[in-house]
Symmetry: C2
Subunit: 408 residues, 2 copies
């Protein structure tokens, strides 16, 4: 039987290592001899960087710890594979490495850009008559992958956002004075994670007062009117904003803060500072104390607060990818399909990758309220099951313990 | 027997409600009839805002939930009591309220400014021959109160800082590229909480590479040299900076970011933005990708990650304050004294408040390394016991549940 290789790509999530654990477990079950891990994804593989995971994952405890470790344990990359016509050498080099390692199955855990990689590699394999199978495992806190009900990584990020907001709302209300707290949440062009701020609302928490998703233009005058109105009723207003909000001219709000917004290697702008811009707006226009809070990378790496549902599904998606590859599938991504409306049952399926790669799924209209400053009950019903359960950390010396790659 | 009244003051901590729970438990044990809570501290009390805690805290579950609730459940204030000579009316009004409520014991949970309140009130009481007892319960994430080994609230904030840093360090290392991550930690003039960043170092984590406390001048050239040197050895450099770092001219680094730094009612500057200033410095001078992360209020309100040791000590300090007041003490603050070097045994004692009020305890030289860019093993030995154990949250609907003040 052929060997398997797995890579992690793009921005990390709290449970991207659970998917790796799922891949490893299924490959071991299938009695695959060598289970390789690319170090820093396809970029590292091209440089000859890989390990044999069996040298590092030996015990049940290793797997338990791996699931509880944030960030991609194998390292990640943002490597855009060239088009087949332009970059033939890259493909040839890669397939040479794969053939030398006798790889039969190639699993890539990542977001839309990584699925683009799977699409290109499976097409190239087809064009040269290679039998290597390429399967994608979805991963992104942004939840913007098409066709799947949701994406592993989103649930844990949503849980972190909602739990932290509950704490911040409490903190913001501590003084008997007027104040506006603006919290910035990640999500490139899609507002799924910002929408999760609405999950903070419960019997013990009013939730954020206003939620602004990038699916709607940020209307400055409307916003100021809303805040002003709320401040007449209550002391503290808490606002959740997406990092990628744009004004009516299509300009990112954070561009007012960062003069020369940087770009990553996919040409995506690196966004941060929207909360500071909105907070400054409140202070200037309404003359009220305001604070901008940016969750930053913690929302994608706070594995100590990971959702057990999310971790289990990430594991399942990893397992499913291996089963699919071994059964002969290629050019597919694992998706999660919700079986029923009322009972939460999630079933993994396969989906043709060309319908997923490079697509961005944004938040649909029925999940955004009519004023464009909040989410609907339908969204909360969609999202609530995803944050259930806890993957309690293993504590050592008072802190969550993480897995370390070292040969024993 | 006389009644008791308790207030919470200043910036909240993750365990300020544990101290309130301790006051309540001890007062109930002492069979005190009415256990009043000031709403928004002494500021609220002067406006006649108080509640009877027995109306709200009825069951063991209420107490368990109260301990797990962030921010001051009674609300807080930043109210500076005028000097006795200048503000006699304020004192007269306050004592009139206290006498109407038949208060015998006045407990105030807070930091150095709140201890100033206890000092002034106990002196005024003495001057008018009042028998009301005034006792302070220490509270601050800054750990800058004199005489006590440490301050309740610090251990949980330290645990949050160290745990989050472990996650951020993992995340920062995910790509195979040079980058510098600068994390900003709270602490007005004292670097105790920033020093706690050093606790992140363990077998599974290298810890932050550089730690800068406000006890040392931030030497820009030395810093850049250190970062440059580190980047030759490794990809990712993680720097922990105090929010209140100053340059060699004594100017706050964050003042470069916020043109008109605001002040609170005690005249303390509101500091935030140091990480952004330092990150900008790295990008500009070393031409390397850099990210500034500000923990902001989460470090004082992340009760979901509270230290059990800290919560228990906060409770104990609250109990001790009541016992002291009932036994006739006044004008004192509860302190924690460490009994042994090797075994961690903490005993509450009383200390004359005039030696504590308005004092700021900074980090001593033996806890800072000779280069001024890290902490010593002696500091880690001091701080490690304070973050041990977990006050696990009570989860509901996938999120930590909090106590709500509502009459049942």
């Amino acid at each position: 039987m052929k060997n398997i290789i797995v890579g992690q790509s793009g921005g990390p999530t709290a449970v991207i290592n659970s998917s790796l654990a799922g891949v490893f477990a299924a490959a071991r079950d299938k009695k695959i001899q060598n289970i390789y891990g690319m170090v820093n994804g396809i970029d590292g593989l091209l440089k000859g960087n890989f390990i044999d995971l069996k040298d590092y994952l030996k015990t049940k405890e290793d797997i338990a710890l791996l699931k509880r470790t944030p960030s991609a344990i194998l390292g990640s990359c943002r490597f855009k594979l060239p088009d087949m016509e332009k970059g033939r050498e890259t493909y040839e080099k890669l397939f040479q490495i794969l053939n030398e390692l006798e790889i039969g199955y190639f699993i890539y855990i990542g977001g839309n850009d990584s699925m683009d990689t799977i699409l290109k590699l499976s097409r190239y394999a087809e064009s040269i008559g290679s039998n290597i199978r390429f399967i994608g495992v979805p991963k992104t806190i942004d939840n913007d992958l098409a066709e799947t009900d949701h994406t592993p990584g989103y649930g844990s990020a949503a849980k972190y956002v909602a739990a932290s907001l509950k704490e911040i709302i409490r903190d913001s209300n501590v003084y008997d004075m007027k104040s506006v707290t603006v919290v910035e949440i990640m999500g490139r062009n899609a507002g799924w994670l910002t929408a999760a701020a609405g999950l903070a609302k419960d019997e013990d928490c009013p939730g954020p007062d206003l939620i602004y998703l990038p699916e709607r233009t940020f209307e400055q005058e409307e916003f100021l009117k809303d805040v002003d109105h709320l401040l007449k009723e209550k002391n503290t207003v808490v606002v959740a904003v997406s990092e990628s909000l744009k004004d009516k001219n299509g300009v990112y709000l954070c561009d007012a803060m960062i003069k020369n917004a940087k770009e990553d290697s996919f040409g995506h702008k690196i966004l941060s500072g929207t909360a500071l811009a909105v907070s400054e707006l409140v202070t200037t226009k309404l003359n009220v104390k305001s604070r901008g809070i940016i969750f930053n990378t913690l929302q994608r790496c706070a594995t100590h607060l990971a959702s057990l549902t999310d971790s289990n599904e990430a594991f399942l998606a990893g397992e499913e990818a291996v089963k699919a590859a071994v059964s002969g599938e290629t050019g597919k991504m694992v998706i999660l399909r919700r079986m029923k409306e009322n009972t939460y049952i999630m079933v993994p399926e396969l989906f043709a990758i060309e319908k997923v790669a490079n697509e961005e799924k944004t938040v649909p209209d029925e999940y955004i309220n009519s004023s464009g400053n909040g989410v609907t009950e339908a969204f909360l019903e969609y999202a609530r099951p995803l944050i259930q359960g806890e993957l309690n950390p293993i504590m050592e010396n008072g802190l969550p313990k993480h897995f370390v790659i070292k040969k024993s």
